[in-house]
């Protein structure tokens, strides 16, 4: 299968502080990658670079055949193919859940309103909150909001989904409902990069694990190898603390 994301020697600085150091990563179609590591290790920055919510200063990032850099015209077109789910949900509070889901399909994909609503309802049903479609985000629980955010991203029918700590802001009992949706999505064959501390989820769905520390990819391995015999000491230490 072909590579849908390629990162070559990517470096990034915030002012003088280097957050990403020489990142090399390829993601194949339908591959699921879970990124873990201590906070401040650059995990979020890495996946935000993939749809250029953050700019990298050196190296090459190719997403779906398009290189993204400051010269990229119409970065929007690439972003439309890459769905993203955030730690803080970031639903649009002034719109109902249904409108949240139809906004981008109507205005970016130019779908007719009716068609967009059909797609939205299908996706809301998939994440099991179709009964909340007409409510506003502020009226939903955290878990429901995050599922709505996933549905909103899915409505654009993206080729890749990025998850930036999707369960970190949730109460423990709501984590499961969100993870269930993500597992379902993974089984449906979506290409996914997930930053998370949910190791149970990682074991269940990930093809490959990446461990990051201080801006570097310290270890990249098949999921089973990663948990059963991690190579670097740093990974061992991290796993011993988190498992």
């Amino acid at each position: 299968m072909s590579n849908i994301i390629e990162l070559k020697n990517v470096n990034k600085w915030f002012d003088k502080f280097q957050v990403l150091k020489d990142i090399n990563l390829t993601v194949k179609q339908k591959e699921k990658i879970v990124v873990c590591g201590p906070s401040g290790s650059g995990k979020s920055t890495l996946i935000r670079c993939v749809n250029r919510l953050e700019e990298h200063q050196e190296g090459q990032i190719v997403v779906d055949g398009n290189e993204i850099s400051e010269n990229t015209k119409n970065i929007e077109n690439t972003r439309a193919e890459v769905g993203m789910v955030f730690q803080q949900f970031n639903l649009f509070p002034h719109l109902s859940i249904l409108d949240n889901c139809t906004l981008a399909p109507i205005w970016v994909r130019k779908l007719p309103k009716k068609k967009a609503e059909e797609v939205a309802m299908a996706n809301l049903k998939r994440v099991q909150i179709d009964d909340q479609a007409l409510k506003f985000p502020g009226q939903l629980s955290g878990g429901q909001q995050q599922r709505a955010a996933i549905a909103r991203a899915l409505c654009m029918e993206p080729k890749i989904m990025l998850f930036d700590e999707p369960t970190s802001a949730l109460d423990p009992e709501m984590i499961k409902e969100v993870l269930d949706v993500m597992v379902d999505l993974a089984k449906g064959g979506m290409t996914m990069i997930v930053v998370t501390h949910e190791m149970g989820f990682a074991k269940e769905v990930a093809d490959n694990m990446i461990f990051m520390d201080e801006g570097r990819i310290v270890e990249k391995a098949k999921t089973k190898d990663f948990f059963d015999n991690p190579k670097s000491d740093r990974t061992k230490l991290f796993l011993s603390q988190i498992l």
């Binding site: 972003r79 769905g83 509070p93 906004l103 205005w107 970016v108 506003f136 955010a149």
Partner: protein, 419 residues
């Protein structure tokens, strides 16, 4: 020992304290009322200062006596909680009530009960109150300025159409609303301007110098309101732009206009601006004034809207971008609807300030409501009517501004999507 206990209100001697306290409070009110309406001072026997403050002291003492917690009497508890929670609050309550008793009736008298309404000259005002005859006689000038009497129906029709269209917005279903709003923004102003200025369809041409009064206030305010909002919005977005040219132009524009008094801007627009126009071109004075006010208020509007833009969390930008929205869609679909909602009070503030700034156009010789009153009060037959005139102007401005304020509060409530 026993004497001491008497001064300390408690539940055992409840009735004694209530009757004593109520007596003192009533006495203080009687004192004030007699003093105000019968011009007789019950406590006149005391030295001046004590006599002056006697209602306050007596009433305060009375309120002290009836301050009994959980007395069991519903009304007493209510009074104690709201007016009489401590000695200090008791005095404040009394002072406020006494000031109302002493000063509201005379104002009402001047305003209404002693006022003159009938007649047609200054000599008809004999009773000593306000002379509303002045307003009655001049009302056409106050409404229409120097606009010829025979043509005033044109202004009436223009405003009638406006109010009917606004009424339609509320009456029609959501679907048609945007068409009416578009019509109000783009087509109606042209109709109204042509109707009022004339010169076509056989309507007599009436130059803008003759416009005036309340209709001019509304015309200037309406145009400035409509235009300053989008200009301010783009300035706010420009100031946050990543393109240095746009950013610094916006900052320069905003800071320049915010730093200059409106009266100088208006003066410049009338005196300096024509000098920069090429020979032979001409721009109407009223138009120049409207443009000047628009740009001036737009600078304030820009900063108000920028406040709203700053208040939105970065996540909203991230989410919109991640859905593939570019700059304009991101702003018009996601950011601005939320930011504008946040700053409705600030926008209303700027709008009110704008309406109340319109009288300043007198510096270029345009006389709106306040200006016309200024003119009328210098009429030899009506000297000394400044108070009536300006009270009337104040009332009209207050009605306009208060309804705008109420509307903005309604809008806030309607747009609120918090739980």
């Amino acid at each position: 020992m026993n004497n001491f206990r008497i001064l300390k209100p408690n539940k055992e001697n409840l009735n004694l304290f209530i009757s004593l306290g109520v007596f003192f409070v009533i006495f203080s009110f009687v004192d004030i009322l007699v003093n105000t309406f019968l011009n007789f001072n019950i406590t006149g026997a005391f030295p001046g200062l004590i006599s002056y403050f006697s209602p306050l002291l007596i009433g305060g003492f009375g309120l002290h006596l009836i301050r009994i917690e959980y007395s069991g009497n519903k009304y007493l508890d209510k009074v104690n909680k709201n007016l009489n929670s401590s000695n200090f609050n008791a005095f404040l309550s009394l002072i406020i009530i006494f000031i109302l008793i002493k000063y509201v009736p005379p104002i009402l008298n001047w305003f209404f009960f002693d006022a003159d309404f009938a007649g047609s000259t200054k000599q008809d005002c004999t009773s000593g109150g306000a002379c509303w005859v002045f307003v009655k006689v001049w009302i056409k000038r106050f409404m229409y300025g120097m606009y010829p009497d025979t043509e005033q129906w044109r202004i009436n029709i223009a405003f009638l159409i406006l109010f009917l269209s606004i009424g339609l917005i509320f009456a029609l279903p959501q679907k048609f609303k945007k068409y009416i709003i578009l019509y109000l923004l783009f087509i109606y102003p042209i109709i109204a301007l042509n109707l009022i200025s004339g010169g076509i369809f056989g309507l007599k041409w009436i130059e803008t110098g003759a416009w005036g009064g309340l209709s001019l206030t509304l015309i200037v305010s309406a145009f400035a309101l409509i235009f300053c909002f989008p200009v301010g919005m783009f300035l706010a977005m420009g100031r946050r732009s990543e393109l240095p040219a746009i950013k610094y132009c916006s900052i320069g524009f905003i800071e320049l206009w915010r730093g200059v008094p409106l009266i100088t801007v208006l003066f410049m627009s009338a005196v300096m601006f024509p000098m920069f126009l090429p020979d032979g071109t001409f721009m109407d004075k009223l138009m120049r004034v409207i443009i000047a006010i628009t740009l001036f208020e737009a600078a304030y509007m820009a900063e108000v809207i920028r406040g709203g833009l700053q208040a939105l969390p970065r996540g909203q930008y991230d989410a919109a971008k991640s859905l593939g929205m570019g700059y304009w869609r991101l702003h018009f679909l996601v950011i601005l609807p939320q930011a504008l909602k946040l700053v409705i009070p600030g926008i209303a503030n700027t709008f009110l300030a704008l309406v109340k700034d319109t009288p300043l156009i007198f510096v270029v010789g345009l006389l709106e409501l306040a200006g016309m009153i200024g003119l009328a009060k210098t009429n030899p037959k009506w000297l000394g009517m400044a108070a009536e005139g300006y009270v009337f102007a104040g009332l009209v401005f207050w009605i306009i501004c208060y309804s705008m304020s109420r509307y903005s509060q309604n809008l806030e409530k309607k747009l609120s999507t918090e739980r």
